[in-house]
Amino acid sequence: MSATAEPKARRPMSDDKPVFTDIERAIINRLQYGLPLTLTPYQDVADELGITEQQLLDQLKALLANGTLTRFGPMFHAGEMGGGLTLAAMRIPAEDYDRVTEQVNSFPEVAHNYRREHELNMWFVLATETPEGIADTIARIEALTGYPVYNMPKEQEFHVNLHFEI
């Protein structure tokens, strides 16, 4: 375990077992693969799943509202957009964790931020419009928080396929 105890987490893990209806399950599984880029994309997915388009849209809104889905939309590939993308980590003592979380999250360049159990206990993804923006953002995070940022850009990509079957 790391030395950092238990500052309050934004979205702590719950022990509740998730319960989904068959329709929710089908929608979650199907839509992680991507919406077909057709003139009537929701209708086409609804037909595939054997539900109405209105049912699909209502269920999607509900899954977004209750947080099961964090987002539904285009997944941008920052590297392909000509921007900068990196993973970075920090070592933050327990007493400063909430403050630094607040500060790091305030940067729009921070796309994801996870607390992890390690001496390096804060891990975030930075996405910037230009490749040079990474170094600049890191410098500003270090200046604001007072802690060093360890930059770990990908040097080689072996696989990306994030799909959670439920």
Binding site: T70, N113, W123, H159
Partner: protein
């Protein structure tokens, strides 16, 4: 191959692309005719909006238009970032083999930061229990064998932020 730079040369965004990206960063409109809805906002025809999205997906600017779940809420509560200290001579080959394992969602080579960080291979593993993640990590360890000098698993204990990648308004960037 893994590192692609050639594609990004072609993937220059048009001004319309930028506007479409800005308009959908929060999400695609949840209405029967999402392209028409975006077109009305931006003064474009639905067919043209759709064509831009198809083009951006083909060029790789957009991986896909998809649902992004909170994996904790789906029951995948154990998200283990397994990290490995793999010899530089073996990492290209071994990284590919680890990445090919069906339960590895992301797999990257990243720089070491000695003395705090000696691990240069990252493989993300998700499970519904810690045992499941540890079992999968053992399979990676067996695969790496002598090429690996050390490893650990970092579990996430909270999502502090998850907004996805955002494009800022151009005038905001100095």
């Amino acid at each position: 191959m893994s590192i692609s730079t050639s594609k990004s040369e072609q993937a220059k965004l048009t001004e319309q692309d930028r506007e479409l990206i800005m308009a959908t960063q929060e999400g695609l409109p949840l209405v029967s005719d999402p392209w028409g809805e975006l077109g009305r906002q931006l003064g474009m025809r639905a067919e043209d909006v759709l064509a831009r999205f198809q083009q951006m997906q083909n060029s790789g600017v957009i991986r896909r238009v998809a649902a992004v779940p909170d994996h904790y809420k789906l029951g995948y509560r154990y998200n283990g970032m397994t990290v490995w200290d793999v010899s530089d001579s073996a990492i290209s080959e071994m990284g590919q083999r680890v990445g090919d394992l069906p339960f590895v969602s992301h797999c990257y080579r990243r720089p070491r930061h000695l003395p705090y960080w000696s691990f240069n291979l990252f493989a993300m593993v998700h499970g519904t229990s810690r045992e499941e993640v540890e079992d999968k990590a053992r399979q990676i360890k067996d695969l790496l064998g002598d090429s690996c000098a050390g490893n650990t698993i970092l579990y996430s204990s909270a999502i502090l932020k998850k907004t996805g990648l955002r494009l800022r308004k151009q005038k905001d960037t100095p």
